[in-house]
């Protein structure tokens, strides 16, 4: 691409690149769908020895002929795969095709699980509730990552920011009232953000190294302060209580949807707002345009008068505070108390969600939900059967991320200036 090309040429050029990439991606997606279809048609249907599958939705049981379900689902998915391979889905239909394929495959999978063990009832709503509960901190962490990395600062320290938030929420929530802990979490996340911003923006430290070190620091500091104060005096310092459940009037009485989305605590509702807010702000506001500009081409942004460093500082702080809020979910949002390393690697899964979701708020949210679902499957289905090795299931998000980053299902590209310090000349 020549740099002197006028804007119109550039657009045409990009589109050409897009279609050539698209052909390969289209076929790879078709293969992926095809594999799912074949698994369902051949493997699952032969593994099911008759019987009916019981899918329970909030007390209402839906019975399906297990084997026939797997066969029908397999055929439908293969049809989707064929369409994907021959014609491809449009820009808008692609996520729907993927979503429908996924849901259908899960129905076949549940049919198989339901006939395997002693406990045939698959609690679908319970599984989805668990998914959301597990996904909320991942979503918040991933939004933090999106905000930082869109501004050009790599955030590997999500784990540390969440851990600091979890710790501060428990402490502040104990000393004051539970909900005040939220502010503690925001402040602690922001504190970690100050370190990330200062060392990466001002002192130009390699941001990945910095993130790793900040994670160690957060684990060390929270562990140290937990042992020094909270472990012995847990009544005074580590009994924050949990945030109450808020039922949204009317909405929460909708069957299935209500208990899934509208009977939750304040952190969950804040998460909804933040998903929406970050998405709109990033792509529809002046601030968002500037943020994306400093993440892609800080020099150009500087040339048109955007204060690159100031905006980077601000965005890293906002992002880190959001990660801190995600941390609060582990303490005052669920179990009501801090324990060492309570975030247990969720920050890294959130990082994976950022990349898997291609640095977009919607994508990252979808990825976080998918990862949450994989973990929920592992937790919930162990009641139904021991035919699935839960550890192997738990690997799926990570393997999926590797596959995504390797470009097997479409090109993943980070913001161009992500991780590069900007020094004004």
């Amino acid at each position: 691409m020549s740099t002197t090309a006028p804007a119109e040429d550039l657009v045409v050029d990009l589109e050409v690149v897009d279609t050539t990439l698209g052909a390969r991606t289209r076929l790879l997606r078709a293969v992926a769908y095809g594999v799912l279809g074949l698994i369902s048609l051949v493997w699952l249907s032969t593994a099911i020895h008759g019987g009916t599958a019981h899918l329970v939705f909030d007390g209402h049981t839906v019975s399906l002929p297990a084997r026939a379900t797997a066969i029908v689902v397999g055929l439908v998915i293969l049809a989707i795969a064929a369409w994907q391979g021959v014609r491809g889905f449009g820009r808008r239909a692609t996520p729907w095709a993927a979503g429908v394929t996924f849901v259908l495959f899960m129905v076949a999978f549940f049919s198989w699980v339901s006939t395997q063990g002693h406990h045939p009832d698959i609690e679908v709503v319970g599984l989805l509730q668990n998914t959301i509960a597990l996904a909320v901190p991942l979503i918040l962490g991933a939004l933090a990552g999106v905000l930082c990395e869109r501004s050009g600062v790599i955030n590997v320290a999500i784990e540390g920011q969440m851990l600091a938030g979890a710790w501060a929420a428990a402490l502040v929530g104990s000393v004051a009232v539970t909900w005040v802990g939220l502010f503690g979490a925001l402040a602690a996340g922001a504190f970690m953000g100050v370190l990330l911003a200062l060392f990466s923006i001002k002192y130009l430290v390699n941001q990945v190294v910095l993130g790793v070190v900040l994670n160690v620091l957060a684990a060390g500091l929270t562990g140290f302060l937990f042992d020094a104060f909270m472990a012995n005096d847990s009544e005074k310092f580590n009994q924050p209580g949990t945030l109450g459940e808020i039922d949204i009037p009317l909405l929460h009485s909708i069957p299935i949807i209500g208990p899934l989305f509208f009977e939750a605590n304040i952190v969950v509702y804040l998460t909804y707002l933040l998903i929406f807010g970050v998405d709109v702000a990033l792509f529809r506001t002046r601030w968002g345009l500037r943020t994306r500009a400093i993440g892609e081409h800080p020099k150009a942004a500087d040339t048109v008068g955007i204060r690159v460093l100031a905006l980077r500082y601000r965005n890293v702080l906002i992002g880190s505070a959001i990660a801190g809020l995600g941390g609060a979910y582990f303490t005052i949002g669920s179990v009501g108390g801090f324990a060492k390393n309570i975030t247990s690697g969720n920050g890294f899964i959130a990082l994976a969600a950022v990349i898997f979701g291609r640095w977009s708020p919607r994508g990252a949210t979808a990825a976080a939900l998918l990862f949450g679902f994989a973990i929920a499957l592992q937790n919930n289905l162990s009641i139904n059967t021991d035919a699935i090795p839960s550890y192997l299931l738990a690997m799926l998000p990570y393997v999926a991320t590797i596959v995504a980053v390797a470009g097997l299902v479409g090109k993943v590209r980070a913001p161009a200036a992500d991780g590069e310090p900007y020094v004004k000349q």
């Binding site: 790599i154 590997v156 060392f199 002192y203 130009l204 430290v205 390699n206 941001q207 990945v208 190294v209 910095l210 790793v212 070190v213 900040l214 994670n215 160690v216 620091l217 684990a219 060390g220 500091l221 562990g223 140290f224 302060l225 937990f226 042992d227 020094a228 104060f229 060492k340 690697g345 890294f348 899964i349 990082l351 994976a352 990349i355 090795p389 550890y391 192997l392 738990a394 690997m395 998000p397 990570y398 393997v399 991320t401 590797i402 980053v405 390797a406 470009g407 097997l408 590209r413 980070a414 913001p415 161009a416 200036a417 992500d418 991780g419 590069e420 310090p421 020094v423 000349q425």
Partner: protein, 409 residues
């Protein structure tokens, strides 16, 4: 990183040795001051965590001496315990036996063994411009392979040990090489793939520890069969001390890596690729091939850390076989400035901190060691902070700055 932030060094030819020496001195000074600053911040934490100091602080206005005295005593006892645990303990030395005299040093060396190997692994990758965060996964896979050969096969002494060690190296190399291959073939950033491979390895280990044939009977606990005594690394200083032959392997690995990077053609290629992949490619070197090779080497070195864990320190694999070495290795490599000699010393220092922490625990929570470690590395990565605190003159040396690049780089 854009070339704007690294000042190209072009000293006059005659000034070069002097400049080099002053830069080495400067590096040593910054390292030392980083350590001192980290200990100082650690001391503040100790004082805050000490109950007596906190209580006396309430009447600080009337008797400030009390607070200072209690604080000083807490700090002194904590660091003294750290020293006793890591270097020399007069209390155990009073027993007048080998374990009494050399016990602390033996613990330091035992803890340093895998840290040195892991630090070398991260350092070698650094030199080729790659950041291997996957030490944890590579150590786990290395340990699993070494451990499996160690307990599943039964071979004569000597051969069995060699086979188990090689299996561990190979396991680590495969896990690391996978990330290298992905980077070379698809451009997938090694930081992301190695983090993901860590979690794949953790879950794989969890799975294996629940499978008959790997898990030890009576299958109640997540622990693998014990390694045959034939496959265990011999103890170096008798049965009373834990230090084992893995230390010799780690030191040998350090010498090998030093030779590799300094004198071999391969090492030159790796450094060239690390310094400027485009220039290396123009000069006819295969950058992709270098990525694969260096990740194989790095993975094998992590495999060695896993080997020393499972064939030396604790001869049965548990879920915690890595025990944080994968991440500590990064701090070791940074402190050692990705240089084999520096890495050995950094490994000894952090090994000492690990060895001292159990004894220190009666005075302060043992996460203190983690905090000190993180702070040291943080200051070393940002020497400008240390220079500002101690009002040193600025010079061009920074570690890691030449590594600062994005996901796409």
């Amino acid at each position: 990183m854009s070339a704007t932030t690294v000042t190209p060094e072009t000293p006059a030819p005659d000034a070069a040795p002097k400049r080099q020496r002053s830069q080495a001195w400067d590096t040593a000074l910054v390292t030392l001051l980083s350590f001192v600053t980290a200990l100082f911040i650690g001391a503040i934490l100790i004082a805050i965590s000490d109950r007596q100091t906190r209580d006396s602080f309430q009447y600080f206005g009337h008797y400030p001496g009390d607070t200072l005295r209690f604080a000083w005593s807490a700090i002194w006892h904590t660091y003294q315990a750290l020293f006793y645990g890591a270097v020399y303990n007069p209390n155990t030395a009073a027993n007048h036996n080998l374990a009494g005299y050399l016990g602390p040093i033996s613990e330091t060396l035992t803890n340093a063994t895998p840290l040195i190997a892991g630090g070398l692994a991260v350092g070698v990758a650094f030199r080729a411009g790659l950041f291997n965060i996957g030490g944890q996964g590579q150590i786990i896979i290395g340990a699993v392979c070494a451990g499996f050969v160690g307990f599943h096969w039964h071979m004569p002494a000597g051969i069995h040990l060699v086979a188990a060690v090689l299996a561990g190296l190979a396991g680590g190399a495969v896990w690391g090489g996978l990330a290298g291959l992905l980077k070379a073939r698809t451009g997938a950033h090694e930081v992301i793939t190695t983090i993901m491979l860590n979690y794949v390895a953790i879950n794989l280990l969890g799975y294996l520890l629940s499978v008959r044939g790997f898990q030890a009977p009576p299958y109640g606990q997540a622990i693998a069969n014990s390694v045959d005594s034939n496959a265990q690394l011999p103890l170096l200083l008798g049965d009373s001390l834990r230090v084992h032959a893995g230390l010799i392997l780690s030191i040998a690995a350090a010498v090998l890596v030093w030779w590799l990077l300094t004198y071999s053609r391969l090492g030159f290629r790796l450094r060239a690729v690390g310094a400027n992949p485009n220039a290396a490619r123009t000069a006819g070197m295969s950058v992709e091939n270098s990525y694969v090779v260096v990740m194989l080497i790095s993975g094998a070195l992590c495999g060695l850390a896993g080997v020393s864990q499972v064939l030396g320190t604790n001869p049965a694999i548990t879920g915690d076989i890595d025990s944080g070495i994968g991440f500590d290795a990064i701090t070791v490599a940074l402190l050692g400035r990705a240089n084999p000699v520096g890495t050995v010393f950094a490994g000894l220092l952090f090994g000492g901190l690990r060895a001292g922490s159990p004894l220190m625990q009666q005075y302060a929570p043992n996460e203190l060691v983690q905090v000190i470690q993180a702070l040291i590395v943080l200051f070393i990565a940002a020497p400008a902070v240390i220079r500002a605190i101690f009002r040193l003159k600025t010079s061009g040396s920074t570690v890691g700055a030449d590594l600062a690049k994005g996901w796409n780089g």
